[in-house]
């Protein structure tokens, strides 16, 4: 495989063709903050916190490093006043949703983000998609998915699948940066799953449960 040479924060880095800027930085020991990234999952580009400046052929652009492939002679800057400002704004917004998430507040402290810049919107989910993608890509069960869009986008357990698969798995729980996932599951379990049982589709509760 062809090797691509680029510079990240002034450091010469070599990465295989097709690798992302984030992966190249990681191998070179350069840290770029992430929230929606997971090594075992496809890049998603949802949280935008890994945004960097990439300069090629004299022009500089803002790109999301977890989905941007490495290019020959690319010059990447992972910190700059401009990037820090953008990351701070993203965190300001996320804090309105999930003010007590350890991951979000850790980054917020690093970038000086403000808890109260935006009115609280207690939805807790930050739409990182880790739960949805883990269930789809690793477990191949699709028990949880996104519904809606824009400000109404949320995660949703599919009762028919969740009633069969989730009880013995729950591997997505530790991935969630906000613990909203656990709450959503508890809610789905108490509201939606019993009616599936009553209709006789369920096998993961009661006597038959493992």
């Amino acid at each position: 495989m062809k090797e691509i040479r680029l510079r990240i924060d002034g450091k010469e880095v070599a990465a295989p063709e097709g690798a992302t800027v984030l992966e190249a930085a990681k191998t070179a020991g350069i840290r770029i903050p992430t929230l929606c990234h997971h090594d075992g999952l496809e890049p998603f580009g949802a949280c935008r916190i890994c945004i960097v400046e990439a300069e090629a052929r004299g022009s500089s652009r803002l790109v999301v490093s977890c989905v941007y492939p490495v290019e020959e002679n690319l010059a990447v800057r992972t910190r700059s006043p401009r990037i820090d400002r953008i990351r701070k704004t993203i965190l300001d917004l996320l804090l309105a949703h999930a003010p007590d998430s350890p991951q979000v507040s850790g980054l917020a402290a690093e970038y000086g983000a403000l808890r109260d810049r935006f009115e609280k919107e207690g939805s807790f989910c930050i739409h990182c998609g880790l739960c949805v993608r883990y269930c789809a890509e690793v477990k191949k069960k699709h028990a949880v998915g996104f519904i809606g869009r824009g400000i109404r986008k949320e995660i949703c357990f599919i009762p028919e699948v969740a009633s069969r698969e989730c009880k013995g798995c729950k591997e997505c729980f530790p991935l969630c940066p906000t613990s909203y996932l656990q709450a959503a599951y508890a809610l789905a379990e108490s509201l939606a799953l019993p009616c599936v049982i009553n209709r006789g589709h369920c096998c993961s509760h009661g006597a038959q449960s493992p």
């Binding site: 789809a136 699709h142 998915g145 869009r149």
Partner: protein, 156 residues
């Protein structure tokens, strides 16, 4: 919705996963909403997970996952209609139907929606009823048109 009708629509699109949106549109057009059994059936035959179908079906406003009335009333609340009194037209439509935007009445006669622009601002205020555009609406005419659907009311 009858499983045979769902299958016929899926067959028309040769059970291809890439036709998911087209299949959903056809079901929506034929049945006015997309019932759970349609989602399960499409999932089985196209080998697309139900979670993905729900994501698509809730992403586009063209799809409804709850039953819809026989008459679709869309009141435009775009800027041009708004300044020409769309909110009074909406009030009158709510009074005439007895439901709020996003709702369907128990008799399944009407579904009321607001939209952000129907693209014919010069005609504002605009109301679209069952696909037909009614321009230069007033509150009184909106109420009259809505009440006139399916002939005069028997209750009066």
């Amino acid at each position: 919705m009858d499983i045979g009708r769902i299958d016929a629509i899926i067959d028309r699109h040769r059970s291809e996963a890439s036709s998911l949106i087209q299949i959903l549109l056809d079901i929506q057009a034929e049945n006015r909403w997309i019932p759970g059994e349609a989602i399960s059936r499409i999932g089985e035959r196209l080998e697309v997970p139900a979670a993905r179908i729900r994501h698509v079906a809730t992403f586009y406003k063209a799809f409804s996952l709850v039953p819809r009335g026989r008459h679709e009333i869309h009141v435009c609340m775009g800027t041009a209609c708004h300044v020409r009194g769309a909110s009074r037209v909406l009030d009158a439509s709510q009074d005439a139907t007895g439901i709020r935007p996003g709702e369907t009445d128990p008799g399944m006669k009407f579904s009321l929606e607001t939209v952000n622009c129907l693209g014919c601002c010069a005609l504002g205020p605009v109301v679209e009823i069952d696909g037909k555009i009614h321009g230069r609406m007033t509150a009184a005419r909106a109420a009259e048109t809505v009440k006139g659907l399916e002939g005069p009311r028997k209750t009066e």
